[in-house]
Amino acid sequence: MHSDLLIILVVATALAFDFTNGFHDTANVVATSISTRALSPRVAVTLAAILNFAGAFISLKVAATIATGIVDSGAVTMPIIFAGLIGASTWNLATWYFGLPSSSSHALIGGVVGAMIAANGTGAVQFGGLLGKVVIPAFLSPLLAFLVAGLGIVLTYRLVARLRPGPAGRGFRLGQIFSGGMLALAHGTNDAQKTMGVITLALVAHGDIAKDKFAVPHWVVISAASAIALGTYVGGWRIIRTMGTRIIKMDPAQGFTAQTAGAAVVLAASHVGFPLSTTHVMAGGVMGAGAGKRVSAVRWGVAGNMAIAWLLTLPAAAAVGATTYGATSLFGSGVLGPAIIATIAIVAIVVAMTRRARELAAQPAGAKS
């Protein structure tokens, strides 16, 4: 009975995390299309939500990496998964509150690893898998997106240099419908699978799935796809409200190139099973497309902040995951500890969102973000 209640709580927390992942990342997926006026905000958000949902069904390679390649799945328990999810959500909430760029994917992996170390020591973590499948690809992917977008925009500008800007711009705006669609599909593929992997780990711990036979149940795929798509759709309306003050200055060729580079890197990574951060890949793509036109156009200070956040996310989420595991284990191994922590987390989220909303309401219109 306790075990059943706990699995319900863990799955609900994982889907809530998936929802916030979609909510956070809508900007990465739609901002470029909206800023170049390739798509209206309403159409861009709706298309992104639908393609996020569809993308979740394309592959399960990343889910397999999360479920089998980072921690010892035989040593995983439901309180560990719960603590990892709380660690990731807390770090996401803190970075959102202070306006720091952060990766939901790295937070999720950091949270689970931290809780695992607190419960079983370092021996239960596959550090080789963590380094080879998460840390190194995470470091490489924004640089790769920067390179692809930079090369792409330099060659594109050379090719279309003699065309009149009007017709060329219209052509690239049309192309952005497809490049933006591919990016949304890539986001759904890579990001929804992380939640699927975590829920699968919890089901292994609950005894629903054999630990030596990796399989993601259909209901997990459908629920993860629905949660990320719903998060994208809901997050999109917030983006629409703030687009007036946060428009990224890009021309349609740059927008097309940045999105194509982002989609190519994320889809290629999903194919080989690397869980990447869409936030970091898209930031690399946008900077590459900007630098290809004029190096000084790139806000290198923002890039520096992202690098610092990138370095901090894994250890910080791991620390919160470990602390949460310690706190839940004070109440034994049943459902009481996670239920108390979940209640505290919900209250903290409501307080933080209310405070942030009040702060934004008190700011002058031009300063809102």
Partner: protein
């Protein structure tokens, strides 16, 4: 060096790099060719140069078809995995 190679799946990492470069840069270049084809075809048609217009239209069609093929093939490869 041997330890690093054992930890990192070099084959998968290299695959990520070359697939991203070929697909990303390739689609950008081929789509730029499609934009050139459509724009030039339209200009030649207005100038009543029908043969040149048809040639550019054919170039644009080929380039768009190549982009579409690349996108569909990419998704198909992933779903078969």
């Amino acid at each position: 060096m041997i330890v690093a190679t054992a930890i990192v799946d070099t084959h998968a990492l290299l695959q990520l790099v070359y697939v991203s470069l070929i697909a990303g840069v390739g689609i950008c270049v081929v789509y730029a060719v499609a934009v050139i084809g459509v724009t030039r075809s339209s200009e030649r048609r207005r100038a009543d140069r029908r043969a040149a217009s048809a040639l550019y239209a054919a170039l644009a069609t080929l380039a768009v078809a190549a982009c579409g093929w690349a996108m569909v093939t990419g998704i198909a490869i992933m779903t078969k995995k």
